[in-house]
């Protein structure tokens, strides 16, 4: 654990990618194989599920620190991170004698989940009492969630490649899928070369960069295909050995959440992998992302929800066919095969993202302008002879999104940020004008946003908030309505969950409209007009 805590500390104290890779590679060379497996698991979102809820965690920590719960909560709001708060308020009282490995701690956590509250409390308080500050923090982080130390799975894979001298792309492939750190050895996971294990494994997704220049800079239109960029969830549908597997881009296996795909299981030949977009269907046409959200979190889906919001896969690539990896063949060829097989299956749950034909780049511009009408976010440009690459790579795939919709809104509430921004008010709530039943204009909350300003602007807004607080509600402050911001968003839909009656997708601050008074901000009616 000491070694793992030291690693986290090192990763946390540098912004330099190279230093992080080196620190991780060194770590991988030093620790036991079991600790390696657990470290890979932790850095690829495979932590064991929480053995304890955070309410109890706070109670136990406050009790051990001999402070009342309100004082713990107030401290947490200021520190901005639960594990860090716990580590800070509890003083180390007793020297630790034996040293447990990372693996032992994680095994403890799996064991702990099944224990009663009394056992949980005494286990946690005992560990907190004995661990020195930074280990206490890391230990608590293992209980509560993500580390936010700027180590992506890709960076971890690169470090592992460096330590083991195995090709990075091969490693990325090996580390995908449904393996469990409890039951797999480092040899099985990383070192062994076995084909049979790859049954459920998806291919690493090829991701596109946003196009920043004019498309005409990409060369001749004949070399390119265009398709709509759908606003759903990127996914791979796999059929191997009479089973199907559905993976999302976040490398989550979600087969069970979308039972509709079981219906087409027998129609897909073994050894087939599709790449496409999961989309919700409402009355036989594509719904909004807001509709899809009603399905995303559900692990078990009711029959009525399944009928109300069925989900389809709109395919746009074929990565494996007849058990052969097609990624190295040209995109045009993969598309041809894809279209044949989708036509043969001929089932509404498996659609295809049509190729948009265009002769001149200017034709495409017009199509892009109308993308919202077909519920797309813009266009994807793909080079016809391109292979299917790993991760985000420039050159062959580009996303050419529509400019966001935007509206001018008034800042009404603010909350402290997290992590790096924990001592600034950087999480904002915005409101638009609306007429209430008495015919008076009032500000109605419509979105939250916490990105889009420069550090300098955040500082200035923070200062304004601190000087213009009206009321405090725990961590949230209401502020004098005075500042106007242009808020951009990707899509908009009606919502029954939001007070405003509207849900926006990816709201973010585009700019601070210092030139506008609050009277000049937009109204909710203006916003609703954007719904198509």
């Amino acid at each position: 654990m000491k070694r793992f805590a030291a690693l986290i500390k090192r990763l946390d104290t540098t912004n330099k990618t190279n230093v992080k890779v080196n620190a991780l590679a060194e770590y991988f060379k030093e620790v036991s194989d079991q600790d390696k497996v657990w470290t890979i698991a932790l850095l690829s979102h495979r932590r064991p599920s929480r053995p304890i809820n955070t309410t109890l965690l706070r109670e136990y920590a406050a009790e051990l620190a001999r402070i009342e719960l309100w004082l713990f909560e107030d401290s947490y709001h200021i520190v901005g991170d639960l594990a860090e708060t716990i580590a800070l308020v509890i003083p180390q009282t007793e020297k630790k004698e034996d040293e447990k490995s990372l693996t032992q701690y994680l095994e403890d956590m799996i064991w702990l989940k099944k224990q009663d509250e009394k056992v949980k409390k005494s286990y946690l308080q005992n560990e907190w009492k004995h661990l020195p500050y930074y280990e206490r923090f890391v230990f608590t982080k293992l209980l509560t969630g993500g580390f936010r130390i700027g180590v992506s799975q890709k960076l971890m894979t690169r470090a592992l490649a460096k330590a083991t001298e195995i090709d990075e792309d091969i490693l990325a492939y090996k580390l995908m899928g449904n393996w469990k750190p409890q039951t797999i050895s480092f040899k099985e996971l990383v070192l062994d070369e076995k084909a049979s294990d790859y049954l459920s494994k998806p291919y690493p997704f090829y991701l596109a960069y946003a196009l920043e220049e004019e498309p005409s800079d990409l060369g001749s239109p004949e070399e390119w295909y265009a398709e709509h960029k759908w606003d759903g969830i990127r996914a791979q549908l796999i059929k191997r050995n009479d089973e199907i597997f559905l993976w999302t881009r976040g490398e989550e296996l979600v087969t069970d959440r979308y039972p509709e795909f079981q219906k087409i299981k027998d129609l897909i030949p073994n050894g087939t992998v599709f790449d496409g977009e999961l989309l919700p269907m409402i009355n036989d046409s594509i719904g909004s992302f807001y509709d899809l959200q009603k399905r995303i979190g559900r692990r078990t889906v009711s029959k009525s929800l399944l009928e109300k919001i069925p989900v389809i896969l709109r395919t746009y690539d074929l990565l494996e066919f007849e058990e052969k990896d097609l990624r190295e063949t040209a995109f045009a060829e993969r598309r041809k095969k894809l279209s044949n097989i989708v036509n043969e299956i001929a089932h509404p749950t498996l659609g295809i993202s049509e190729i948009i034909t265009f002769k001149k780049w200017d034709d495409l511009k017009e199509i892009r302008e109308e993308a919202r009408e077909v519920k797309s976010e813009g266009l994807m440009l793909k080079r016809r002879d391109a292979s299917y690459k790993i991760g985000r790579k420039k050159g062959d795939w580009w996303k050419w999104k529509l400019d966001p919709m935007s509206i001018d809104a008034v800042l009404t509430y603010a909350m402290r940020g997290h992590g790096r921004r924990s001592n600034l008010f950087t999480d904002y709530t915005f409101a638009l004008w609306s007429e209430n039943e008495h015919g008076e204009r009032e500000l109605v909350t419509f979105a939250k946003a916490y990105s889009g300003l420069t550090d300098k602007e955040f500082k200035a807004v923070d200062k304004f908030i601190k000087a213009n607080t009206v009321e405090r509600f725990g961590p949230v402050r209401s502020v004098v309505p005075e500042l106007v911001f242009e808020i951009g968003f990707e899509a908009i839909a009606k919502s029954t969950r939001h007070k405003s009656g509207v849900a926006t997708r990816f709201p973010r601050i585009i700019r601070w409209r210092k030139d506008k008074k609050i009277e000049e901000a937009n109204s909710l009616e203006d916003l609703k007009e954007l719904i198509q």
């Binding site: 309100w70 107030d74 200021i78 901005g80 991170d81």
Partner: protein, 336 residues
């Protein structure tokens, strides 16, 4: 009802029967100054009263001013009100101010810490009825490690950077933190260089305390001279063109705020050393216990939370707004 002995008005903390201010933030006739930081010792008063060790500091910062001094523990009377200064342990020459009138005793702590830093006279508790205390770090999340441990870490960090052929740049306040670090750096590791603002202040303080030798960085200083050595600079120098001369370098901040990971990252520091000239949570509580005050007024820092806590343990505590900043991560303090 009679007015309290010390009141808070728009100019500062005021003692009506003596007609004198303490650490006023607007120009006044007569003002007692707790210590030399610019949020406590401001421009423009007609008459300053402070401890002799603070005199050269405020003269250095404020130029030609009218100062009188008084030793710690020495009682003096103004209009029947008895005043005395007592060590606050915050920075060199920092005092707490005791005010007594008709048997009632008030203490204004100014900024203070309980740990002996080896540079300034250590804090002393004073029995009082009413206490005006700072609470910059009045949250249970703040716990300082002993100074020698932190300084061992700082010297170790310097050695590691030296091994990698890098210059170590450490940021701390011009008055106080810079000298505290300097005092405990290990000169056997290498040379200690200073930024101009810090060199000037340290020169003033060399008459009051012994410090290791320092080398001022000037335009003529060559990059090679700095490699492997350590540089002490004010926080405002971080990200300025001045620091380019130090490439390749590692940066560190020494501040109580470095207890928070977010604070260090926001300042884009490579390292953060938790070292503060203010009381942490337990020190505040220890001090309040020793002051034995019945009434407590919290001025700057986490005043709401800290006073709420004091009330929860049965003390009569409230907050007052002042313009004192305590320890900040920003650079305003350095403007002077």
């Amino acid at each position: 009802m009679e007015s309290p002995l010390l009141i808070f008005n728009d100019k500062g903390i005021y003692c009506p029967p003596a007609d004198i201010y303490i650490d006023a933030w607007r120009p006044v006739k007569k003002c007692i100054i707790s210590h030399g930081h610019s949020d406590h010792a401001r421009y423009g008063h007609e008459y300053y009263l402070t401890h002799p060790r603070n005199e050269p500091i405020i003269k250095h910062r404020l130029g030609k001013i009218n100062v009188e001094t008084v030793e710690w523990g020495e009682k003096f009377k103004i209009n029947g009100v008895t005043f005395s200064l007592h060590p606050a342990g915050h920075v060199i020459g920092s005092s707490q101010i005791r005010v007594e009138y008709k048997g009632e005793v008030w203490v204004f702590t100014g900024d203070y810490k309980l740990q002996n830093d080896g540079v300034c006279a250590p804090w002393e508790p004073i029995q009082c009825h009413s206490l005006i205390t700072e609470c910059t770090f009045g949250l249970p999340a703040f716990n300082w490690r002993p100074q020698h441990e932190v300084m061992t870490d700082i010297n170790q960090w310097w050695k590691e950077n030296q091994k990698e052929g890098k210059t170590s740049v450490i940021f701390g306040y011009t008055l106080g933190k810079a000298q505290r670090i300097l005092k405990h750096l290990d000169p056997s590791i290498g040379k200690i260089h200073t930024h101009g603002a810090i060199e000037n202040m340290t020169t003033v303080l060399r008459d009051l305390c012994e410090f290791p030798e320092t080398n001022l960085i000037t335009r003529e200083t060559k990059k090679e001279e700095l490699l492997g050595n350590i540089v002490i600079a004010p926080p405002s120098a971080h990200g300025s063109p001045w620091i380019r001369k130090m490439v390749p370098y590692e940066t560190a901040a020494a501040s109580g705020w470095m207890a928070f990971r977010g604070a260090r990252r926001r300042r884009a520091m490579d390292r953060g050393f938790v070292l503060s000239d203010h009381c942490n949570w337990h020190e505040l509580l220890t001090a309040i216990n020793e002051f034995g005050a019945e009434k407590i007024i919290c001025t700057h820092g986490y005043t709401d939370i800290f006073s709420k806590y004091l009330r929860s343990i049965g003390l009569d505590a409230r907050t007052e707004k002042t313009q004192y900043e305590g320890e900040t991560l920003e650079t305003e303090k350095e403007a002077v």
